[in-house]
Amino acid sequence: MKHRILAAALLLTATPLAAYAQAARLKLPEFKGLAEKATDSVDITLDGDMLKQAAPFMSGPQGKMPPEAAEALKGITGIYVRVFEFNQPGVYSEKDLDGVRRQLQTPGWKKLMSVQSKDEHVDMYLHEHEKSPDDGGMALVVSEPKEFVIVNIVGAIDLEKLRQLQGKFGVPAMPGMGAPTPPAASAGTSKGDAPKD
């Protein structure tokens, strides 16, 4: 009986922590109906062992993991990305993303940015990490007439290090979106040419 009480107590104390850690992970719908209509889609779920095993095999132009990526990945325990593209507006609606956006209104999520205009709706939220950095997370929901993007990252995140990964994976950085200048030199000016990795 004592063991049962102890086990139950442990469960009760463990669950909130576990639940809190998991709260930074969004429950992403399958978007099955939309997948059939999309001209292109991306569905990436990497966490736990799979994420740890994948990291060494992630190569940039140098044939090995860019060191900046290793730094940016430190502390990240899950990465979830969904991208859907359609060939015309009106195939999906904001309602399809309501379920995701509602989760960002729950306790723990803090709005960093929310922009809405005729052609786009961008929401970026951070999840607080009260108990430990591992409880942290980030969610980005971007919708445009013919595409939407959801990015959810769980764990201790360094947003700046993640942002600076642009162009490091052999995919050309967009012209005009070259490597950001180091914070010390940055004066909010526009970026230079795309770097050659």
């Binding site: 001209t39 292109d40 889609s41 991306v42 190569s59 940039g60 132009p61 140098q62 044939g63 090995k64 991208v83 593209e85 060939n87 786009e120 961008v122 971007v142 445009e144 013919k146 595409e147 993007v149 162009g167 994976f169 052999g170 995919v171 050309p172 950085a173 967009m174 012209p175 005009g176 979106m177 795309a194 050659k196 990795d197």
Partner: protein, 200 residues
């Protein structure tokens, strides 16, 4: 806000082929003869496909000497595996797959060498037919930023007119990755050199 631009449809139907007509298929007789060890017949196979194989190697490796070696290796490998090749169409796919993977590996080897000991890469504009110097330059700049697999996607799409599904199978890559590489590369070209869109 500039987000991922999915408007460059990587899987649009291929435009009519305005290049030189393809060579007729290799004779099945030559293929069968080569299987029995007839090196003259094998030489005809090599001659028939050398342009394809060498060009793929050159555009991925970016270096003529490497491309020559990789192309030769692919043919030597073919000689040992002719049994696995059913017909000319299969042969072409076999060669594309083999030379692409070999070229990607060769490029990786170069990139792993410490600075200063790597053979200098030749100007990547060299491998392009140079009656369009503006495009050749832009392509060279683009390819220089791309890793081997992304280069291979571009080459197989525009040199060999393969569709993304075939490219994905040949390079052991998800179809969406192929489409993404194509889309971004076209996007890059259109943004980096907008004048490319306006006439030849």
């Amino acid at each position: 806000m500039v987000l991922l631009d999915f408007q460059a449809r990587a899987d649009a139907p291929a435009a009519p082929d305005r290049r030189a007509p393809r060579l007729p298929a290799v004779s099945p007789v030559d293929l069968a003869a080569a299987r029995t060890g007839d090196r003259t017949a094998f030489a005809r196979l090599v001659r028939h496909h050398q342009g394809l194989v060498f060009s793929v190697a050159l555009r991925i490796c970016g270096h003529r000497a490497d491309a020559e070696e990789v192309a030769q290796d692919a043919f030597l490998q073919l000689y040992g595996q002719l049994d696995a090749v059913a017909d000319d169409r299969h042969l072409r796919h076999w060669l594309i797959r083999t030379v692409s993977h070999r070229a990607i590996d060769r490029l990786r080897q170069h990139e792993r060498r410490p600075q200063g000991s790597a053979a200098p890469l030749e100007a990547l504009s060299a491998p392009f037919v140079d009656d369009d110097p503006l495009l050749a330059r832009a392509l060279a700049d683009l390819l220089a930023t791309l890793a081997g697999p992304a280069r291979a996607v571009l080459v197989l799409r525009f040199q060999e007119d393969l569709d993304p599904t075939d490219i994905a199978a040949l390079l052991d890559m998800p179809v969406n990755t192929v489409k993404s590489h194509l889309r971004r590369s076209l996007e890059w070209l259109r943004t980096a050199a907008p004048e490319l869109e306006h006439g030849s």
